[in-house]
């Protein structure tokens, strides 16, 4: 099996700091924070009531062939983000239809938002009275099926990976292998999650929700803010991108997956370090070549300590700059690492480091340069993007600036 070089030529993004890659890039440069009052469900009674919502989302703009009521918000997101990615790549859908593809979407909660609404309705009318149309929106694999059906891609293999908050990176890795080894001509991969009351209630009860802003690596950080969003990346071989004169954001160099096999919610330092190590080995990159880590960086006490220790375990006591996009985007669950990869690609293509915003003073226990509050120009070559999840599921992806010569 000959391995092909895999490049990223299209980005589709829905996020609390902007929809579409142009707005997203502007948001990253400006260090926008997308936090606000929750409008998508009734947050009355919660002690803290902020989250990151996707604004100005008009599903009908993206979904033309599927009745809107058949799709939950997370599926609507995955369809919209995929259309954006295809457009951004300058690809003709007709052309894609004739090629073998992979559509892999990662998600934490699938259509949990829909299930919440069904539960609310069940409490009023009983299980027998539920609306069948709403029930049919639930299956999680719809997040990928909706894409394939709406875009009418007869030769695309759909998958949904439910690897919780590392799912976006899991999906990217799957697409990477499929394209690299010739199983697919292109891959549309990433993650999608819609804001769900159930998840918000859970994180609230765990005491992990911040009172005002998410401040990763900050000495006074209080926790995360839940979020929604979707990020989809179009991957193809370098050969294919060159043949059609495509703009290349970045090269995907490798990835690593592993499992802590330790605790359902507490991350494991050694295992996280091993995951990043696996990704670097896969990419053929030495730790000292890495210019930036896009951390999982949730802004909780435990994650940030464990993750930065893992980073120092791997990179030594002078680790690369390490940013947490969740300060801007919130924690968009299964979409988080896909948005992280999209941001990494944008950073590589445009030569800047998106900041860790809302930052006051770095926790000395974290011991990293988190590029506080303001983006900085930087000729980046290699970025490592992390996704860590409940269940001990870790996934790291390595992206590189596209250079004509094989690294």
């Amino acid at each position: 099996m000959t391995a092909q070089r895999v490049v990223l030529t299209g980005l589709g993004v829905l996020s609390s700091i902007g929809n579409g890659v142009t707005e997203f890039t502007r948001g990253l440069r400006e260090g926008r924070c997308g936090a606000g009052e929750i409008t998508l469900f009734d947050a009355t009674g919660f002690r803290r009531q902020l989250a990151h919502e996707v604004k100005d989302f008009e599903p009908a703009q993206w979904i033309r062939h599927t009745p809107l009521e058949e799709l939950g918000r997370a599926s609507q997101f995955s369809v919209a983000a995929t259309r954006l990615a295809v457009q951004d790549a300058g690809l003709d859908l007709e052309e894609l239809r004739g090629r073998r593809g992979l559509v892999t979407i990662g998600t934490t909660d699938g259509e949990a938002r829909e299930l919440d609404q069904l539960v609310e309705s069940e409490l009023a009318v009983g299980m027998a009275g539920l609306d069948p149309t709403a029930v049919r929106r639930l299956p999680a694999h719809r997040l990928a099926l909706a894409v394939v059906r709406e875009l009418r891609l007869p030769q695309a293999v759909p998958s949904v990976l439910g690897t919780a908050c590392a799912a976006g990176n899991y999906a990217i890795g799957d697409g990477f292998d499929a394209v690299r080894f010739g199983e697919a001509d292109y891959a549309l991969v990433g993650g999608s999650d819609a804001l769900a009351r159930r998840t918000f209630a859970g994180f609230s009860r765990l005491g992990l929700v911040a009172s005002d802003r998410c401040r990763p690596f900050d000495a006074e950080r209080e926790g995360l803010l839940t979020a929604e969003g979707a990020g989809v990346l179009l991957l193809e071989t370098l050969e294919s991108a060159r043949a059609r004169g495509a703009r290349i954001y970045a090269e995907l160099l490798g990835y690593g997956l592993n499992c802590d096999a330790h605790h359902p919610t507490a991350p494991d330092q050694e295992s996280v370090a091993r995951c990043m190590g696996l990704a670097l080995a896969d990419a053929g990159i030495k730790p000292e070549e890495v210019d930036l880590v896009s951390a999982h960086g949730t802004g909780t006490k435990t994650n940030d300590i464990t993750e930065t220790r893992a980073i120092r375990e791997l990179f030594g006591d002078r680790p690369p700059r390490t940013v947490a996009l969740k300060s801007m985007l919130g924690h968009s669950m299964g979409a988080a690492s896909a948005l992280g990869a999209a941001a990494s690609a944008v950073a590589l293509a445009h030569g800047f480091i998106p900041p860790t915003v809302n930052h006051r003073s770095t926790d000395p226990e974290c011991g990293i340069d988190c590029v506080p509050n303001h983006a900085v120009p930087a000729p980046l070559r290699i970025v490592v993007n992390n996704g860590l999840a409940f269940g001990g599921n870790n996934a790291s992806v390595v992206l590189g600036r596209y250079e004509e010569d094989q690294r």
Partner: protein, 85 residues
């Protein structure tokens, strides 16, 4: 102003909650046995106890009290100063 008087009934109720979270029989739980060291509790278990006590007694216990809730007596102490919801 505390909402809860710590009497025998309260103690029994707290004991049941803690024992359930720690997966013990109620009588196995000693007054000063350390949750983490002696009964193998983890962070998730600690939050479970805090939540269950909040619901059972209609109080609010701030998250930063978690570090004080190390054994049965300490939990009673935390509960004695908890505010009602």
């Amino acid at each position: 102003m505390s909402a809860i008087t710590i009497d025998a009934a309260t103690e029994a109720k707290v004991r049941d909650i803690l024992a359930n979270s720690l997966d013990l029989d109620s009588e196995e739980l000693t007054r000063t046995g350390l949750f983490v060291d002696e009964y193998g509790a983890d962070s998730l278990c600690a939050i479970e106890m805090l939540s269950a006590i909040e619901v059972a007694f209609g109080v609010t216990i701030e998250q930063d009290e978690l570090e004080n809730m190390v054994h049965f007596e300490a939990v009673l102490e935390v509960l004695s100063r908890a505010e009602s919801r």
